[in-house]
């Protein structure tokens, strides 16, 4: 097990270098000059542009820029923004806590309710409640997230006045509830559907018949035997979803005015702030890699037949 984890961690290094290089190159081939764009409609000042380029190392050849960036990264330095000359790390430490909160809240929401609905529908398959869950999840899947966001903002925020329609303080968990629900609802539908199918399939397995024959209570059969064995596809999905919830919140963050990573990334793309884009994506890559490792390790916990050597 220990060797397996070590191997996986070592494998991350080439993946990490490869992705950062790729993104670094992609940002650099985008047309336009972010330094000149600092002046807006006004003509840029060549002497000042030269100084800014020199200070940020943008006048060096591309390979050298990349090596410098990588070197800085290893020391925890994510570089400096072109506009405003701020450390990228500062902006990321402002935005990531917000997105992590939002992401975890959405994740908890989808996990708890998704599993609940899924188990309910799977156990009572063919009954009214099963049809209800199926229809409900189908609806959620077919509504685009911005429609869901704008409608719930209008209904719960403006008309009913239960919550503030927009987030004033992005660090306040209470204000993040509605955005988190909107953000997590699509995944909730998928989790519920995956769980339902998996449960329905495993309910006919031999070990289930054995458990029932042994006279175990229903509650224990469902939670310890049925659910645990049915969780593998769900866990696979949830693992990739952690990253998606944080990276893919651009639309939701925009609607509810949450100052998170999605907004930061969007603005950085518009302004062509390469160092922010590469920095954020690098962290996302790390999150995805770790979540994947965690998922693989969870397989072994859920199903003792799976072993890693």
């Amino acid at each position: 097990m220990g060797r397996y984890v070590a191997r996986r961690l070592l494998q991350m290094i080439p993946v990490f270098i490869g992705t950062t290089l790729l993104i670094f190159l992609m940002v650099n081939v985008l047309p336009g000059d972010p330094v000149a764009a600092l002046w807006g409609d006004k003509p840029p000042d060549p002497a000042q542009m030269a100084i800014i380029r020199k200070d940020l190392g943008l006048d060096l050849p591309l390979w050298q820029q990349y090596l410098n960036y990588l070197g800085g990264l290893l020391q925890g330095d994510f570089g400096t923004t072109i506009a405003g000359n701020r450390p990228v790390l500062d902006q990321m430490t402002d935005a990531f806590p917000v997105s992590i909160r939002l992401g975890l809240m959405a994740f908890t929401f989808e996990l708890v309710l998704g599993l609940f609905f899924g188990v309910l529908a799977g156990v009572k398959r063919g009954k009214v409640i099963d049809t209800g869950v199926t229809v409900f999840t189908l609806m959620v899947i077919s509504i685009p997230v911005f429609v869901l966001g704008l409608v719930s903002q209008q209904v719960f925020g403006t008309q009913l006045g239960w919550v503030s329609p927009n987030v004033k303080d992005s660090m306040d968990m209470a204000q993040l509830v509605l955005p988190a629900i909107v953000l997590g609802s699509l995944s909730l539908a998928y989790v519920a559907r995956l769980t339902r199918t998996s449960i329905a399939e495993n309910a006919r397995a031999d070990y289930m018949r054995t458990a029932v024959a042994k006279g175990l209570p229903q509650r224990r059969i469902v939670s310890m035997h049925l659910l645990r064995n049915s969780l593998i596809p769900v866990v696979t999905y949830l693992g990739t979803d952690i990253g998606a919830l944080m990276a893919g919140a651009v639309v939701t963050e925009g609607i509810f005015n949450v100052q998170g990573v999605g907004q930061l990334l969007f603005e950085a793309l518009a302004r062509r702030e390469g160092s922010i884009i590469v920095g954020i994506v690098t962290v996302f890559v790390l999150i995805y890699l770790l979540a994947n490792l965690l998922v693989d390790l969870l397989y072994a916990v859920l199903d003792p037949r799976i072993r890693y050597a």
């Binding site: 047309p31 336009g32 403006t158 992005s170 925009g254």
Partner: protein, 540 residues
């Protein structure tokens, strides 16, 4: 629910009544406790006077600083603020005398040195300030900010401190209206703490204006409070202003409707249809110092050979400005009839209809003129613009439709969309355009000079079309030497008439600034830069 609605109406009525009495009462002092909650965008650059060149940081500077002069939001005239007088005998050497009694909010006195140090800082190339070019006409700028290479001096030789309240300025050349430019925010004074503890100052800017910064959370909000010790004539009429960051103006508008916000200064395009019903008369929409045009690449012979001025004029006459501004912009653009902006006022040099017939929609004459001039080069015309913001794609399509209909030769006019502004700007600054291209110009100060010289004079800093005309250059230079303002404006307008004759740039429309506010505040107005005049807002 019905009961609740009644209560809501009652509250509304009461608050309106309160607002009315507040407006009526002339004795209401400047120390009202009400806080104005206003929408804001996160400024790209740190808030430094010589580095802030966009409206969001400009809002803060306008509250926290007062310069030598300030533009009256109503008349647009530059009036003395910290300056007692600015004298000159030769339009090139100026003596600036300050009023006594001005201090920064940290207690430091505003002296001649506060100005000279601030300007030298702003001009120096090593400080990487975006607004450096504003100091370019002061003597010695070349030494602190050379075209290339290192600076050879620390300060500009043209600035000399005489005593605590006097300093002199020597310009590179005669520029009679130079004192009128001093209302721009790059020219405000700075306290010593700016230089001593720069990082700390950026976190909490200290100035000499009617407000002080209470707290600043980057990316989220800034709280400004009225400064009790402010001695200037424009004391804040409210207790303070909370600037709240919104990444999307639709979100801000939603919050205004929900009563969570008092003021939005950018009403989103898709709400323009509802704004009358939503806000009634709590909405303003007035021309700003922004002029939109289409510029011809005069460096391309196909557009510059003799006779082409008729084609250029013809294209201008083929554009139905009235319809496009109504249909696409819902009246938030005003059709242009000269090359300046109505925000300048008549006295400042705006002259309605200066462009004459050439800017009036007349498809028949347009077709005739273009034919007389030898027709479109290669039988077609392609307009280039970035299309990532500002509904540029929409109006370009409309302009082309208008031209195609007027000419009646099928789709001879097409649009060349460029994905990003940065890319568009590269093509424009590299003089790589092969057909007319969009140009948006926001003036730095309400002066006719600023609408003409940088854009159309030979070697002008933003003369992207490379228009060159000796007569035009001569008139501009004469106007700059004129000591009498009215005479100077007349000379500038003479120069403008050459544009009407040559049509190197087709005037399209003036962009408006807009704002909407809640029923809790009153007396909202926008200045020429479309920034709300925060200190005049009253809270009920």
């Amino acid at each position: 629910m019905r009961g609740a609605t009644h209560v809501k109406w009652a509250v509304c009525a009461v608050s309106v009544a309160l607002a009315a009495t507040a407006c009526g009462g002339s004795s209401s002092g400047g120390d009202g406790a009400g806080i104005v909650r206003s929408s804001w965008g996160d400024p790209q650059n740190p808030i430094e006077p010589a580095n802030t060149n966009e409206v969001q940081g400009g809002k803060v500077l306008d509250m926290v600083f007062r310069g030598l002069k300030r533009y009256d939001p109503k008349t647009g005239e530059a009036e003395n603020m910290v300056a007692e007088k600015i004298d000159t005998t030769d339009q090139q050497n100026f003596t600036v005398t300050l009023k006594s009694g001005w201090t920064f909010s940290n207690g430091e006195k505003v002296t001649a040195k506060s100005f000279v140090d601030a300007w030298n800082y702003g001009a120096h190339v090593d400080n990487k300030q975006n607004n450096s070019p504003f100091f370019a006409n002061i003597e010695g700028y070349d030494q602190v900010h050379p075209e290339s290479g290192k600076a050879t001096a620390k300060t500009m030789s043209g600035l000399v401190v005489k005593d605590a309240r006097t300093f002199t300025v020597k310009l590179n050349e005669k520029f009679s209206t130079w004192p009128e430019t001093l209302g721009y925010q790059a020219f405000v004074p700075l306290p010593q703490s700016f230089f001593e503890d720069h990082e700390g100052w950026l976190k909490k800017p200290v100035g000499n204006g009617p407000y002080t910064v209470e707290s600043y959370t980057k990316g989220s909000s800034m709280k400004l409070r009225a400064w009790d010790g402010y001695k200037g004539p424009d004391k804040a009429q409210n207790g303070g202003v909370d600037l709240v960051v919104y990444t999307d103006n639709n979100t801000a508008y939603t919050d205004l409707m929900a009563g969570n916000l008092d003021l939005v200064d950018d009403v989103p395009a898709k709400q323009l249809k509802n704004v009358k019903a939503d806000l009634g008369d709590r909405y303003i929409n007035q021309p700003a110092l922004i002029f939109q045009s289409v510029v011809f690449p005069m460096y391309d012979d196909r557009w510059n050979k003799p006779g082409m001025e008729k084609v250029r004029k013809g294209l201008s006459m083929a554009i139905n400005r009235e319809e496009i501004t109504q249909q696409i912009y819902q009246g938030t653009r005003t059709p242009a009839t000269d090359w300046t902006s109505p925000a300048l006022r008549e006295k400042g040099g705006y002259q309605e209809g200066l462009c004459g017939d050439a800017c009036t929609y007349d498809p028949k004459r347009a077709k005739k003129l273009i034919e007389e001039g030898g027709g479109l080069p290669g039988g077609k015309v392609q307009f280039t613009s970035n299309v990532d913001t500002g509904s540029h794609r929409d109006w370009l399509d409309a302009v082309c439709n208008s031209i195609n209909n007027a000419l009646g030769k099928g789709a001879v006019c097409t649009v060349n969309p460029v994905g990003t502004f940065a890319d568009f700007k590269n093509q424009m600054a590299g003089y790589k355009m092969t057909g007319p291209f969009r140009s948006g110009w926001q003036a730095d100060y309400p002066l006719i000079q600023n609408f003409l010289q940088p854009l159309y004079a030979t070697g002008g800093s933003s003369n992207y079309g490379k228009f060159e005309n000796k007569e035009f250059d001569r008139l501009i230079s004469e106007a700059n030497k004129e000591s009498d303002q009215a005479a100077a404006v007349a000379k500038f307008q003479d120069a403008e008439k050459i544009l009407a004759d040559q049509m190197p740039a087709i005037p399209l429309w003036y962009q408006n600034g807009s704002a909407g506010w809640s029923d809790l505040v009153s007396d909202v107005q926008l200045n020429q830069f479309s920034v709300p005049v925060y200190d005049q807002i009253k809270v009920s």
